[in-house]
Every structure is written in C-alpha cells, then in structure tokens.
Amino acid sequence: MKAALSTLDLQNYLGQKKKIMKIFAHFCSFTPEEILHAAGILPVRIFGSHVIEKASAHLQSYCCSYAKRVLEEGLTRPLDGSVFVHSCDTMQRLSDIWGYSVKEEFHETLVLPVVIGAGIEYLTKELDRFRKRVEVFSGEISDNTLKESISIYNENRKLLQKLYERRKKGHISAVVVDKVMKATMTMLKQEHTALLEEFLEEVDPREYSHPRLILLGSVTVDPYVLEIIEEYGQISYDDLCTGSRYLPLVEELSLRGIAQRYQSMWCPCRAVSVPRGPHILDKIKEYEADGVVLLLHKFCEPHLFEAVSIKNTLRENGYPCLQLELEDQPSPEQIRTRVQAFCEMLEG
C-alpha cells in the first residue's frame, strides 16, 4: 500500500494540529462531532495506551479497561476539552471524575434518551443545549456552518461505506479497516476524506480462504487482536464502535437530523427500535458469515449483559460464536489458542 493513509502517524498529526486549533477528546459513537467541527474544534476519539499508572488511583478495579485507558491519557496528555456521553454508567461516572481531575478548558456530558427513537424531541433539545455550551467557548455556530460540517461528515462516511463494501468482497483486511477508522476518528474530516479517496483507488485486492467471521463488540483498542484473528479467519463485517457503528449518514442537515442518525446505530447501551439479535442474524446472512466473534472488554456492563442473549440467539439459529474477553494487558497467546480452535471448529 502506497497511500498516505496507511503510513500516517496519528500522534505526529495531532501534534501538528495542537499548534493551530483546539482539540476536544471524546469517547463515544454518540458524540455530535459535527457540532464541534462547525465550531472549528477538532474532535478526537481517545483510545489511550495499556500502560495504566495514574488512572488506577481514581478508578475501582471493576471499571473496564477502556475507562482506565482513556483516563490515563487524560491525566497524562490533557487536550483543550472533553465531551462525554452517558452511554453507560461507567462513562457517566468517569465524566465526573474527569471533570475534577483533568485540567482542561471545556467539559460537558450529553445525556441520551433511553430509547433513542422515542426521545428524538428530547435529544434534539439536548443537542441544542450542547451547541449553546460550545458556542460560549467558540463563538456562534451558524446554521449554515453546521449544515456544511454535517455534509463534510456525510461525505466521509459515504467513503467509509465504500470501504466496507470492499471488505465485504474480502478485498481489505480488518487491520487496515481499523487503521482507517482510527484515522477518521482522529483527523479533521475533510483531510481524512482526501486521503481516503486516494486510498480507495490504490487498495490492492486480497484473496482469502479462511472462514468468514463477523466481529461484535465496542472498541478495538489494540490491533493485535485483529491481527491474530485474521491469521485464521477473514473478518467480513463488524459491529463495533471503531467500525460499522460509525457509518450511518445524517439525512436531514440539522440537529434533529443528527439525533435521528443515532436511531440507526446498533449499540447495546441504548434501546433501538429493533432488537440486536435479529439485526445480527440479518448481517450474518448478508455477509455469508460462518461464525461470530464477540470481542468484549472485561467489566463492560452493556456489552457483557447483552452477550448471553446474543449468544443464545446465535446458537438457536445454528451459528457458532466465540467470546473473547480483553483485559488491560494484552494476552496474545491465550487469544490465539481460542481463535485458532474456533476456526478449526468452523472448518470442521
């Protein structure tokens, strides 16, 4: 791969951006990045590192590694501001802890309705409240600027959907997709779009003979897990925050449109109009998958509470599934044994 996107150093990129614009940290797929973009702020999704030294003093051992990782990042390398979403209770409380322990100029938490579809009115008002809060920091955000920003995000997401189409045909590895997704969650959208266009033109087709897998979970913080999975199986679709959950477009170019977009994001943190089990079964059929891998973080309440029901639905329908639980520290060999055994099982 010659494309600039595949060799981009994101830390270096952020270092350059820090000198010229305000950067806000965020942690959730339900963050209205479009509003921040319209305010001239760069929204960056934080993943942190697995070395946890400072964060443990603030969090209990039953908190998920994602919470620990991002807090460590905030305590070590604070940005100009942060935006939390009450996606799960851990993130809600983390927001409080963050508020008094991380030094920054801006801190805000958005509260989502329990059922997104039933709370569009409320969510639109909540987004408006957020917009006003940001305006105090950045100056006025006009409707036109907001529309422009939403369009820029839509354009990028259309290209990401193309990337997913390519992967469906087995032409792009999940490790590469992960890299592209992390880049879009870090970069200024229009700059990522330019690189992504070039990338899509240059991407080389690959051939696979492995079992086809669908990956379910939240965030893939370290790509090592994907690398191991792809030694034995081909990931043809994912249902991840660092993946397909990011793809839906905003139809109506307004705050209401942003709120409505959240209805089509399948996240166990929120009730959506259709249960996730049937949604995943549809995806298995669409992507002709042989099996499903649940990639979950230890102590992640929303995903783990849901896991048993998802696994039962899959088993009742004859689809094998493997649950991998990730912790703070990588444990590649244990993951390798489980993944290799699962793929041996799928191959019969």
């Binding site: 088993r315 094998p320 639980e325 912790e327 444990s331 060999e333 244990q334 044994t337 489980r338 290799q340 055994a341 699962f342 041996e344 099982m345 019969g348």
Partner: protein, 253 residues
C-alpha cells in the same frame, strides 16, 4: 508411524501411533521449548524402539505448539482433545480438561467434531497450578493429594476463587488446627466449583470424559462427580489424550 506432540504449561507429551498407541511419553516442560521437544522425541523414539525416519507425520499442539521445530503443522489442544477422546470412546459428548495452566470444556457431536468450547480465564484457580500451590502450602506431594482427600471427615470450605487468596485461606485453616485431608478435600471442592462454573456455559451431555494431568487425582474426580451429579469417565492415560489426538490428526492429514 504417526506422532503427536503436546507441549503444555507443566508437562510435554508425545504419542506414537500406528493402528494403535505404540508408546506415550511425558516429561516436564522446560524453559526451552525447542529443547523439550527434541528431548521428548528422542525419548519417545527410544521407548517405541523405532527410528525417527519411521515417523511419517507430526502434529504439534498445546501452548508450545508453535515452537516445535519438527512439526508438519499445528492444531489447537481443543481440536486434539476432541479427536483423542472420540477415538478412546465414541460415546463421549463432553470433555473436561484440567491442565497445568488452564482448564477447558469441549462439547462434541456424534462424529467427534467440536461443537462448542470454553476455556478458563487467565486466573489459575481451577487448574493444576492451584493444586501445586496448595500441595506446597500443606507440605504434601502432588500425587498424594487425591488419596489424602478421600479420607476427609469434616467439610472445610475454601471460599476464594483466586489462587493466592485461597492459599492464605488454607494457611488460616492450618493455624486453626484443621486436618490436612479436610483442607485438601476443600481445595478439590473449590476447583470443582470453578470448573463447573465454566462447564455450564456449554451444554453438559453424557458421556463426560475428564482429561489432563489433574484427572490422575482421585479426590479431584470425586469432587467433580459430586458437582456434575453425573458419572465421569477417566481414560487410562488422561495426560496424553491431546497428544493422541494430534497423532491421529497427523495420520488423517
């Protein structure tokens, strides 16, 4: 002649197969896996009275499978245990394997194929290592644990699921003057609970076979049977079922 090599966390196993098991060899896993594999091969060949060139295929399995230089291919211990257990008894539908560093439960179909499996987490509770730590704390040999625990008169509960904390519980009991055999029975109960919690994630169907080095411990099997409320089958040589499966897979490929 076909060969299966299973490099586990505690022991390394080798099985030579030609229509039946010709020989099986078990040695401790050394730090240097390549050396361990070489030594294992030398001993196995000698025991069987054959030449190395008589071996037509080698499959490696276990945690050290990727470090076995003479292997033609690697297969995970899950698939190998299933293959080995099905060969020993085609009626087996559930395997409980308790090894040195991990434990696993495997569900099989009638043809011996893996239907589902589950492995323990990184914690050592519920594995052979747990027994090793307890044996040391109680100053008994590992292979004495089974018989001693069968002489238990009073139930002692080890509540903790963590090996390190369980060891402190054992030390507390020791200092309360509890009998060794009662404490050991409590340790076996604790492992059985831990293993059962895992096994319940897959359907438990009979026959149930227990494999791995821990199956050599009669007290452990007794505790496990009481928890499952079903009879379990122990093969003649439970430690080498994975290596046997590997040898069979070498023959099939």
């Amino acid at each position: 002649m076909w060969c299966g090599i299973d490099i586990g966390a505690a022991t390394a196993k080798l099985v030579l197969f030609e229509n039946m098991v010709v020989s099986s060899t078990v040695i401790p896993s050394g730090f240097d896996t390549v050396k361990t594999a070489e030594e294992l091969m030398e001993r196995g060949v000698e025991k069987a009275g054959i030449h190395r060139r008589d071996i037509r295929g080698i499959v490696a399995t276990g945690y050290g499978r990727n470090m076995v230089p003479m292997a033609d291919r690697t297969v995970t211990e899950i698939t190998c245990h299933a293959r080995g257990a099905h060969y020993l008894d085609s009626q087996v539908r559930t395997i409980i394997d308790i090894g040195g560093q991990d434990s696993k439960a495997i569900s099989l179909d009638a043809s011996g194929k893996v239907k589902d499996f589950v492995m323990n987490d990184r914690c050592a509770a519920g594995t052979g290592r747990f027994l090793e730590v307890m044996a040391r704390a109680l100053e008994v040999e590992l292979d004495e644990l089974g018989d001693l625990s069968l002489r238990c008169r009073e139930n002692v509960t080890i509540s903790s699921t963590c090996t390190v904390f369980a060891e402190s519980e054992v030390i507390s009991y020791k200092n309360q003057g509890k009998k060794k055999e009662d404490i050991i029975a409590g340790v076996h109960e604790a492992i059985a609970s831990r293993v059962l919690a895992m096994v319940h994630q897959i359907p438990i169907k009979e026959k149930i076979m227990v494999t791995g080095g821990v199956a050599l411990n009669a007290g452990m099997i007794h505790a496990l049977e009481r928890k499952v409320e079903k009879e379990v089958e122990i093969p003649e040589d439970p430690q080498v079922v994975g290596a046997l499966g590997a040898a069979l897979l070498a023959k099939e490929s």
